[in-house]
Amino acid sequence: MAAPRPLPRLDSDNTAFWTGGKDNELRIMRCRDCAAFIHPPRPVCRNCLSDNVAPEVVAGTGVVDTFTVNHQKWHPAMEVPFVVARVAIDGAPGVYLTTNIVGCAVDDVDIGDRVRVMFEQQDDVYLPMFEKIS
């Protein structure tokens, strides 16, 4: 069994993001006034300073912007190698998620790959991981 991951402490800013997977939804904060997406989620729009912001469900697909294959065991129980990637989220310009690409060999990941979200639940947190769209 994989070692438990460090989990985020849920708060009023981030709960929508970290629990959206319960409903199979990837939720990104968005400004209702200027339509900009805001990530990390905060109660103010970084584009127009409006307070009128709320989580919005996005498509859950994206593109691998960059990645690395992690070979180092940062703690003894860590299973390696695995892919850490930065995914550009479709429909949310400027938003990137650091994540893992799962469900394929580590050598099969490249920049530009199309990927789709899938959630891994640990306790009350649903971690958005991505797998390649074949």
Binding site: L7, P8, R9, P40, T66, H71, W74, T98, N100
Partner: protein, 386 residues
């Protein structure tokens, strides 16, 4: 009294090692004593202290000594002091001190960075890492995906360079090879064994494309830079080095929301604040906790076009000790030790004063750039010996 410039006067460094047993405050004081001796200053003339990141209780090895502790321990009557992590990076402590002396808040400021990470790993009962519960703040966006180290975060920028601009492992290797060759000539360097291209190419991967030799390693040491006011230079006996320009700019304070690292806007801003240009620079001391950061700094500072960093260092002759732009002449962090930013400023001053002994660059170097930081953290200083 205010002045357009601040000056670096005394510099000092403790023993540099791994698993040292000397108290971290004592290492700091060793470096202070050396800096005071060099400047011909007495501790009673020091009226300011500045550090990065201040004492960090949760990670004492990362930063065991704070500015306030040094003020108290050395009986300094401080008219100004500061220490904290929310600044442009390690050498932000020096830019803060420079602003303090330029605005008359202090005359001679001890700036220091003390690291004790190797010792802390060896003596966890004395220097515990805080028990990790849930993560918050910025860590929550990386740690749950086991992206636990700046090596992994930096590797993703490096991979983008590989794929977008064609950076090769042989090109990237020149940072580590240059560092390790220079470290052989520095008696205080942490790693004093030769490194060959074969060693590099066969090294195990940490996080692609970064291998073991692209990473610095935990070090125990303290480095001190004294920043002095223009109207206090008659009190010092060493050759002052003028801080001609400083920059510490960022576009997104994030390791993943920014398209590229903060060294790019910082490098651009540095040259807006001076009439000097990259062509005037005799040596560069560029942050390389991970080798790729130095490549990005070369681009960000305009020594080559964006994307050309790999080709700029190819073969290593240009950045070698006898090359046209000697880089990291003390060994950088990969050879010299993880002095965490301050080593680059220390070495720039050594070279500008002609005190590099076996590693002294040729000619009469008068202009140097030193930097610290990677990812969203970046500070650049342009130093001139008039």
């Amino acid at each position: 009294m205010s002045s357009d410039y601040a000056y670096i006067t005394g510099i000092g460094q403790s023993e540099v090692g791994m698993r040292l047993t000397r108290h971290p405050l004592s290492l700091t004081v060793d470096a202070v004593r050396e800096a005071l001796d060099e400047a011909g200053l007495d501790i009673s003339q020091i009226d300011g202290v500045s550090t990065y990141p201040g004492r960090v209780s949760a990670m004492l090895g990362f930063s065991p000594v704070g500015a306030d502790e040094l003020v108290d321990a050395l009986g300094i009557r401080a008219s100004w002091y500061a220490g904290g992590m929310e600044i442009s990076s390690q050498l932000g402590a020096v830019t803060a001190a420079a602003m303090a002396v330029r605005t008359g808040q202090a005359r001679h400021v001890i700036c220091f960075r003390t690291v004790y990470e190797a010792a802390a790993m060896a003596r966890p009962e004395e220097y515990p890492m805080s028990r990790r519960g849930r993560v918050d703040g910025y860590s929550q966006w990386t740690a749950p995906f086991n992206a636990l180290s700046a090596a992994v975060w930096t590797a993703q920028y490096a991979m983008r360079h590989v794929k977008q601009y064609g950076l090769t492992r042989e090109q990237l290797a020149q940072i580590a090879l240059t560092d390790r060759a220079n470290a052989l000539l520095n008696p205080r360097a942490l790693v004093r064994e030769p490194l060959t291209m074969d060693d590099y190419m066969s090294a195990r991967m940490i996080s692609t494309p970064l291998c073991l030799f692209d990473c610095d390693r935990y070090t125990d040491a303290s480095t001190v830079i004294i920043v002095s006011a223009a109207d206090a230079l008659d009190e010092v006996s060493c050759t002052p080095v003028r801080i001609e320009a400083m920059a510490g700019s960022v576009e997104r304070l994030s390791w993943d929301q920014a398209e590229w690292m903060a060294c790019y806007p910082t490098g651009e801003d540095l040259w807006k604040r001076t009439d000097y240009t990259p062509a005037d620079v005799d040596t560069v001391q560029l942050y390389d906790g991970f080798s790729f950061q130095a490549v990005a700094w070369l681009e960000g500072l305009g020594f080559c076009e964006r994307g050309e960093g790999g080709r700029f260092i190819e073969g290593g002759t240009r950045i070698a000790l006898d090359g046209e732009l000697p880089l990291n002449t003390f060994g950088g962090q990969i050879g010299g030790g993880r002095l965490h930013g301050f080593g680059f400023a220390h070495e720039a001053v050594v070279q500008l004063r002609g005190k590099g002994e076996a590693r002294q660059i040729q000619g009469d170097p008068r202009v140097a750039v030193c930097t610290s930081g990677g990812g969203p953290l970046a500070t650049a200083l342009l130093l001139v010996r008039d």
